[in-house]
Symmetry: C2
């Protein structure tokens, strides 16, 4: 991305192994993330920046210390590099690994090849070479599914619980899928877009709420006997959506927030008197990847449906445009 | 409190049973809370307001629906009224009960007698009439001990954990006591007052950090191998202390915040990228009361030491002054 709104596909030097823990992968597919729109729209700084942090592909070469992968393996990777061995990783928070590094900052997987640091701790090999129709779902696991799953888990979605999901983008939809898999009794999607409502229902939403802000909160309270939802997922990242999520959570309930905050200021008093659990941030996708890959492999979940536009990598600029204008939920780029 | 800084002890009409779930108690002791200083200092509005929300005493009269208490029982009550039967209470969040009501708003236990709504759900009877020396500890359970315990529990203090406590007031000290009881391996008290440091050590602090703000965070990180504490308690409620607590928590760690926020604005981005669990608000003291009363009864904990000034109720104004000027940590008022 040369500048906001200016995406170009250009030739770069091939990546090479630098550290013995590195792997070089040849991308099979990659995609455009909602968070890529922040620099595209000029909200985050961008200047000839490599883009992309979601990826599946085939291992081409490994460094001397890579033990769990071999050339030819098909792999899915997390959008945050992790060693998966440090104390923080062992506690399940690989996105805060002592070696954490965002793939979008300096690697960039909207590309033909990429060098992945700490390959053992970041990549997960699939049981074999996947059928073509599994590629979108495996790619979704790299970020949106992993992030939505973390959000639903952070919100403690589970049996007997009412889960409200703020945000009908790809991550919100994946949180619905996750809440359903985790056994939630009732899943309320907050959405005002007919196609997204339909997909929300496909993934397991039992109720749709179109109201936003204070009205949205009032509606959730009304649907939950005045108490609020047990579990709320925030998957947008604006002031309004965050406070809507706080307000929709019952006292003692759980909020999982994964929308990347921009200019959000949380009024301390409001959060205090809400009396809720909150857990959020960049999702530790690596924690969930082995299980998610298996669920996809066994065709128990179909997260790939979240991609509603597929383009070749060369036409990435069109993909950005479609997502920016919300004519596509999520764009898959074939390599 | 007639106005900020103007505390008077005056005759009022005796409280009477209004609802069949009420009890009238004769106070044995009450005290002044750090949060009473907010109106005293003019930060919160105050105008001829009844004060006090911490209390122990003897039941004088009960309404027709009160089942678990009888006249003559010695009781400890929570600073928030709760029915202890609704869905929120059953989940352990009695401070968000559907019948929640702050004792300081309209009841006021800096008094000889008080009417307690939802007596069964709010009060806990001790196993018998307590010895005099147990009164301060039982009184502490009503708020500061219960609140400190909730904070330590919310921060998931426990075996193998390093706990950092921001705030050396009564609640911070009680959080140290709780962390120790919960089995924490290391307890870091953030304090720059020699007498409070001493009390912190008495209650179980293993380390003292005198630095504040970013320097305090750096010190905690240095003491924890660069990672931050597993568990952090925030027991102050200012912008600096809250962000200090966020910064001191390791990725995936737990923050328990109980300092009543005033004018705190939490930068969403900073909270997001911290990647931490947070739970806070007015403590559901009622959840912990039965266990805390038993621990005190069995003389396993000695929270009463937190009171370093005892005055008769008539001299309440002096007590406010002492706490305002920080010449006393916490003032007990005998009735």
């Amino acid at each position: 991305m040369h500048a906001p709104g200016d995406v170009r596909v250009e030739d770069r030097e091939d990546p090479r192994i630098i550290e013995p823990t590195n792997a070089i992968i040849r991308l099979t597919a990659t995609c455009i993330c909602g968070s890529d729109l922040w620099p595209y729209r000029g909200v985050e700084p961008v200047d000839h920046t490599l883009m992309g942090h979601e990826y599946v592909g085939v291992v081409e070469e490994i460094g001397a210390d890579v033990k769990t992968l071999k050339p030819g393996d098909f792999v899915v990777g997390s959008f945050v590099i992790s060693d998966n061995t440090c104390e923080i990783c062992q506690a399940g928070f690989q996105s805060k690994c002592v070696h954490a590094e965002f793939v979008h900052a300096g690697i960039g997987t909207q590309a033909e090849k990429a060098r992945i640091p700490h390959a053992d701790g970041t990549l997960v090999a699939t049981p074999g070479q996947p059928d073509d129709d599994l590629i979108p779902s495996l790619l979704a696991a790299s970020d949106v599914l992993g992030t939505g799953w973390f959000a639903a888990d952070a919100a403690q979605a589970g049996p007997g619980k009412t889960v409200a999901v703020v945000g009908d983008g790809a991550v919100g939809l994946m949180a619905i899928l996750a809440a359903k898999q985790l056994g939630a009794e009732r899943i309320i999607a907050m959405s005002r877009h007919p196609e997204r409502q339909e997909l929300a229902r496909f993934y397991g939403a039992t109720d749709i709420v179109t109201e936003r802000g204070d009205e949205g909160v009032a509606k959730i309270r009304q649907l939950t006997g005045g108490l609020g939802a047990h579990s709320v997922v925030e998957a947008v990242g604006t002031q309004e959506s965050f406070m809507q999520a706080v307000g929709a959570t019952r006292g003692g309930g759980h909020l999982g927030y994964v929308g990347v905050n921009h200019d959000v200021q949380i009024p301390g008093t409001q959060l205090f008197f809400a009396g809720i659990h909150a857990l959020g941030g960049p999702a530790p996708v690596r924690r969930y990847l082995p299980d998610l890959v298996q669920l996809i492999w066994d065709r128990k979940i179909d997260p790939g449906k979240v991609f509603d536009l597929t383009l070749p990598l060369e036409r990435a600029a069109e993909g950005y445009q479609a997502m920016d204008q919300r004519t596509a939920i999520k764009v898959l780029l074939t390599v």
